[in-house]
Symmetry: C2
């Protein structure tokens, strides 16, 4: 009774289905190969998992291209809906689930500045630069909105998936929270930008329009965040009230996964920022729901979310790598390869300038506001923040496809050129910027990278802090007060009082579940 | 940069995509509802998870049907490829991973008898009965092969997913291994049957053809099993040699998941029985690979596989429940509802007779061969084996869709009638047989059901036997010799010697990894 029943019972539709099965099989094999090769290469200082997957994808693409006689290079076609619906949510959710909450919220203002104002500055520079420089390449007609919407929005946003690849939360917590946090927040900016540019009259952009824009951004930001918090709290409340672990530990894990996904998909349904929502849902779940489940479920969720995120990441880079050689897209620029490479060069330059134009001024501004000397962002750190956010990856590719290969559009030369340029930029930035980020961090910030924990996720006894879960240990509450040199933030103190008085008794959380259930204080974990 | 970017940037293709997002969101909500309601209803003796999901699906279908003005009843269309490619493999793999291996292999001969010969007997009776009885209903022209292939193959096979729902491995291990094992083995039979009937001339069925048939079955059975064992061993070997846990526990979990899926998809690609393959892959992985990974990974894989299987099961029943009301199918039989119900009645009768016709004779035969008195299948057990295998579920629906609604075929009245009959049979058997199985087991076999472990999966400290993992405890090797009243099987003794001498040193396994790694003997688990 397998998949092939139809084919063996004589239906005529068997061929595409068989091919689909073959594609999936080959893709699964490649994923396994990426995992094994990535593991073997991990000792080297340069290569990271994403570059490995990208290169394996490229190599496979070459082989398929050669064996199919130049007709095809892909096993699975890159579909942006699949990417946004199924590959991205687990990555962002896991990032929220495992993020060091204290570090993240301490830098929250700077992160929001970078994600909101910074993305706008970068957007303006890239759009304007493209508008000025691209006509010199003589690439054919492009509407002004194409420059603005597409190029600006595609390239102004830091790829949060890429940031996760090169930055290690354990080694460089400040950098990680700044660059990755910016990647989360600027999703909201991108959504607002897209809506704004299609609805506003750009030739008469005045103060009113700017206010409307700011208002839209704030609304979207607040609503998305609140939705994520709401779903996270709801999940915590349900699990705490019903205490699923009594009957089945699988049920609570399933519920956490499904509700996290539900938060993302609901946000997308209401045209909010799904990334922001699922990120905050992950934070809330790790703060409350995670403490309401059995010990087995705690271990399982921690590793399952990380594994799902890991598989999605490898999948994405493999997927993109294999798609890069797609012959259809390159055929359009056969007669003018130089133009495509010039356009890519211009874009890489604009990305670098656009990012520099906000990282340094906004860091200065942020330092000006921060009173604590230890919390200021030093110049070397600024350089690494600038550099680490230069990578453009799968998100850019997905957005470029979305914009330039809509089903209603015929492929114009200009569109094809923009796609090939995007691909070149992604390939270049992932390989070059990606490979050089780790060495640059080591060179610029030798003090911050702690050599004693190079493989922080290794050999940890079950729930230790290996995966960056701040509240890993079960009952080590005093660790909250471990840092005496940084005076506790006032906001944080108020939050803790509020949390202990009102939130934890209702939604659970560390230290607030043992009376009700008792089973997880078995003492099996040190 | 969300899913809705396309819609907000003015592409015309936004509507179906928005609808898809809404469907996914609603479906995820329903899954959560099923989990919560299933949890709340778990204390009742009658309702089980599958019936809950089926009824919630039906109720949702009703609501959608009413709100859409009788036009539509489904959120997601039931697609048999999706079912076979993504929903079925995790369930069967998890069953193999968590199966009590000793129990399973002790009954292996009986299981194979049931799955191979039994399915053939059932197939012959259902096909012949339908051929004789259906023409009396005057339902229109059907080819002889339609009766034979479709009805026989769809209804002769026990639905292994259903068997998992009503039988508990902890409470009734013998029943579970017989009925579920039969469900796994008869997948191979079904594949061979489909191929045989389309290629053989049925009017001249003679001894040569019968031998060819037996040869095909044996080849398929052996090849599928070997493929599963090979992939399982390969995974164990890779993990043992490279020791992934040293770097990342996520990587070994990801590799196990992907390689398990790879075994299924490879089997399907080569037209083998994917279900047999992935089942044996699960068995081998739990015997070797599972002992080569870190303790965190052991806990995680155990629960993750169970959770994925659980979500898939709920998904399937919800999916089927929602699809049952699909108005398109029922429209064809509007003028003759009586015929559809007569056909369903005939089918249910034939299923019961066909199953009785092999369970009792083959049990007798099996008892005749077994020398040990304790291992004989008593008459009450035979009745429950017969009863517990009567359910027909998602697999039947998927096969019926496959056969009767191929894309090349226009829907004929006869085909529509067969589909509605299938749906009626599935609904009736899942609800009636499904609900009555547990009470019948309690009534017929009060001694075997151990009342002290009604919720065997509750509150277990990490790795205890709660989920039926025979080798749950970490170093409790003496438990292998716990049953003194059943003398150890000779085959089993030879296997153990062979396993200890040749397999375990290469592929790992309990007791053969601690020297190499050491990290998991931390003593945190009692």
């Amino acid at each position: 009774m397998g998949i092939h029943v139809g084919s063996s019972s004589g239906l005529s539709t068997s061929d595409p289905e068989d091919e689909y099965v073959r594609s999936i099989a080959l893709f699964a094999t490649l994923l396994c190969a990426c995992i094994v090769i990535g593991h073997l290469l991990e000792k080297t200082r340069w290569i990271n998992q994403s570059v490995t997957a990208l290169l394996i994808g490229l190599a496979t693409g070459c082989i398929i291209l050669l064996t199919s006689g130049g007709k095809n290079s892909r096993i699975l076609e890159f579909q942006e809906e699949f990417f946004f619906m199924y590959l991205l949510p687990p990555i962002i959710f896991n990032a929220g689930f495992q993020v060091k909450k204290k570090q993240f919220f301490r830098n929250f203002m700077t992160i929001t500045l970078f994600g909101a104002i910074g993305t706008l500055i970068s957007f303006a520079i890239i759009s304007y630069g493209a508008k000025v420089l691209f006509p010199k390449l003589d690439i054919g007609y492009l509407e002004i909105k194409d420059y603005l919407v597409a190029l600006g929005a595609i390239f102004s946003a830091t790829d949060s998936v890429c940031a996760l690849q090169v930055l290690n939360q354990e080694e460089t917590p400040l950098l990680y929270s700044l660059v990755f946090g910016e990647g989360v927040v600027n999703d909201a900016t991108s959504v607002v930008l897209f809506n704004a540019i299609t609805s506003f009259d750009l030739n008469n952009f005045n103060a009113t329009e700017a206010l409307t824009f700011a208002y839209s951004f704030l609304t979207l930001f607040v609503l998305s965040t609140l939705l994520g918090i709401f779903v996270g709290l709801l999940c915590s409340f349900i699990i705490r009230t019903l205490y699923f672990g009594r009957h089945s530990t699988d049920r609570e894990i399933a519920l956490m996964m499904l509700m996290a996904y539900l938060s993302y998909i609901t946000a997308e349904m209401f045209e909010l920022s799904g990334i922001l929502t699922v990120f905050f849902c992950g934070i809330v779940m790790s703060h409350y729901a995670w403490h309401n489940i059995t010990l087995s479920s705690q271990v399982t969720t921690k590793h399952t979310f990380a594994t799902m995120s890991y598989i999605s990441e490898v999948f994405i880079f493999l997927y993109v790598g294999m798609d890069l050689l797609d012959i259809e897209k390159w055929r359009f620029i056969e007669d003018s390869p130089g133009k495509s490479f010039s356009a890519s060069g211009i874009l890489v330059g604009l990305i670098m300038v656009g990012r520099a134009a906000f990282v340094f001024p906004l860091s200065l501004f942020s330092n000006f506001i921060r009173k604590n000397r230890n919390e200021k962002i030093k110049i070397k750190q600024q350089v690494t923040v600038w550099w680490a956010g230069l990578m453009r990856g799968a998100v850019s590719v997905a957005l470029a496809y979305k914009k330039f290969t809509g089903s209603g559009q015929t492929i114009q030369p200009a569109n094809a050129l923009l796609i090939t340029s995007t691909i070149t930029v992604v390939l270049f930035s992932t390989v070059v910027f990606g490979l050089m980020t780790k060495p640059i961090i080591r060179w610029l910030l030798p003090d911050e990278t702690d050599p004693s924990t190079p493989n922080s996720s290794s050999g940890m006894p079950l729930l230790q802090n290996g995966h960056g879960h701040e509240e890993g240990g079960n009952e080590n509450r005093p660790s909250r007060k471990r840092l005496p040199d940084t005076p506790p933030n006032m906001v944080h103190q108020y939050w803790r009082k509020f949390d202990d008085a009102f939130m934890r008794p209702v939604f659970g959380g560390r230290g607030f579940v043992s009376q009700a259930t008792g089973t997880r204080d078995m003492g099996v974990i040190h």
